[in-house]
């Protein structure tokens, strides 16, 4: 396998894993965050604190937990998922979820309540209220997703543990940089580092374009 082919595979796998896990975590996180941010209840404070704690969970700890669960001796061992891209997506989704969840609650905040009040006044159903809130807070929610994606594509500890950094199989950009640095191949490491930055820029550019075009579309 040539260097070029290997790098291409590594970049695609990185993108695939980060995007998939961001999408999964964003769907779950936002759907849960919206009702919680609109209601007041006794446990709310603690849920928010807990999600903030999990936002700063060390990725290697998450890696260890997922490793033990997916290992053949672990509870989900029969699935044979350890050292596969699926295991990496699971670990990443779990890492990104608290970020999306916590940030979404604060992003929707008071604005969501105003929308809810208006919706109730206009006699909208719950489903319509939810959709309207998502539409109105689209820009904030997209930047929340971008933050989640940032965590996911730049993370190295968890994917190294549950993926195993297998060549052509579970090697992503961050673990590739770690490996090449360890072997003294600094040129290769820097090349991938630059690509990593470009990819992050591109994805954020696309997300930004998405929020802008949709915002305009609504007004027209």
């Amino acid at each position: 396998m040539s260097f070029y082919e290997e790098v291409l595979g590594v970049v695609f796998l990185s993108l695939f894993i980060s995007i998939t896990s961001t999408v999964i975590a964003s769907l779950a996180g936002m759907i849960l965050a919206i009702p919680i941010s609109l209601k007041d209840f006794r446990l709310k404070k603690y849920i928010v604190r807990l999600s903030e704690t999990f936002m700063s969970i060390p990725p290697v700890l998450m890696g260890l937990v997922v490793y033990l669960i997916l290992s053949r001796k672990g509870p989900l061992g029969s699935l044979g998922l350890l050292f596969t891209p699926t295991a990496m997506i699971i670990a990443q989704s779990l890492l990104v979820f608290p970020i999306v969840f916590g940030l979404s609650i604060s992003a929707i905040g008071s604005r969501g309540r105003k929308i809810q009040k208006n919706c109730i006044a206009l006699g909208a159903r719950r489903k319509d209220t939810l959709i309207l809130i998502i539409k109105e807070c689209k820009i904030q929610l997209l930047s929340v997703a971008a933050a989640g994606f940032g965590r996911s594509i730049s993370e190295v500890g968890a994917v190294m543990m549950v993926g195993g950094n297998i060549k052509g199989e579970t090697r992503v950009m961050t673990t590739y940089i770690a490996l090449q640095t360890g072997q003294g191949e600094f040129n290769e490491a820097i090349t991938i580092g630059v690509i990593l930055l470009l990819v992050a820029f591109l994805v954020n550019f696309i997300l930004h374009g998405l929020s802008k075009s949709n915002g305009n579309g609504d007004r027209s």
Partner: protein
């Protein structure tokens, strides 16, 4: 209108992009290839041996070997938990214990090379002059002159070997001069280079990285330096693993063809074999 059009064209672009990504994913997932996971040591990867052998093995059998490069200690643990199908490591005592504990059914020696002690070119502890071939005496000298020594510190085969030599020398290495790195062989060589330190390494990894290092061999070829690599056939009654693929790989490596290929690796580039095949026929 123009805004509307730009919106839809952006969405179309996005849809196309998504389809491409999904298409590639599906294509990547649908290939039905026989695969296996080989838990092995960082030295077989960092020396470039597996990168050279595995494509040839895949060509012969169609089996893709996924390499999990860890220290020997970790590789053994991974295999104990049933997360690997094959095991190629280099720490005899630990391997024999592993088989004795019933995790493996057979230990097969496949190749060897040797350990060496490398250090900064100015050689502050004067190992090159005083102890050019005795590992134990060299370690004593490093410790008495408090020259910086980098230990793998990761329960790998090299680390096990190193601790054994300290034990034979009757020294418990502690102090600022003894650095426990917790990293793979390549990274430790880098660190030794940066810190002007001594370290114990296998010859293959050192030769493969020599051009990037300001480190020289200071002690070599003593009787303590043998570095034997062995396969372990894992017990598939303990865990559901791919024994068939693993056995095919082991048999290929110890066959005369595999052995010949191992012996040839490195000859062109370094003028010598990095691993010397010694499987029992």
């Amino acid at each position: 209108m123009s805004i509307l059009r730009s919106k839809s064209s952006f969405k179309r672009l996005l849809t196309v992009l998504l389809c491409v990504v999904m298409g590639i994913t599906v294509a990547a997932c649908s290939k039905k290839q026989r695969t296996m996971i080989l838990a092995t040591t960082t030295s077989t990867q960092d020396s470039g041996l597996l990168d050279y052998l595995l494509p040839l093995f895949e060509k012969d059998t169609g089996i893709k070997v996924n390499v999990l490069a860890k220290g020997t200690g970790e590789a053994l643990e991974v295999a104990k938990r049933g997360d690997a199908d094959g095991l190629l490591v280099h720490a005899k005592e630990q391997e024999l214990q592993f088989v004795k504990d019933g995790y493996g059914t057979e230990r097969l020696e496949v190749m060897y090379n040797d350990f060496i002690i490398v250090g900064p070119i100015d050689d502050p502890a004067k190992l090159k002059e005083k102890t050019p071939s005795d590992a134990i005496e060299s370690f004593k000298l490093i410790s008495s002159s408090k020259a910086t020594f980098i230990s793998r510190g990761d329960k790998s085969g090299t680390n096990t070997k190193e601790l054994g030599i300290w034990k034979s020398a009757g020294i418990t290495p502690t102090g600022n001069w003894y650095v426990s790195a917790g990293k793979g062989m390549g990274a430790v060589l880098q660190m030794a280079d940066e810190k002007n330190a001594y370290t114990l390494t296998d010859r293959a990894t050192y030769l493969n990285m020599k051009d990037k290092l300001n480190l020289e061999i200071v002690t070599e070829k003593g009787s303590q330096f043998l570095n034997q690599y062995a396969f372990i056939r894992l017990d598939d009654t303990k865990n559901k693993i791919k024994t068939k693929e693993a056995n095919e790989f082991i048999d290929w490596m110890i066959s005369s063809k595999g052995q010949q290929l191992i012996g040839e690796y490195g000859k062109e580039k370094y003028g010598m074999s990095l691993f010397i095949p010694n499987a029992k026929k």
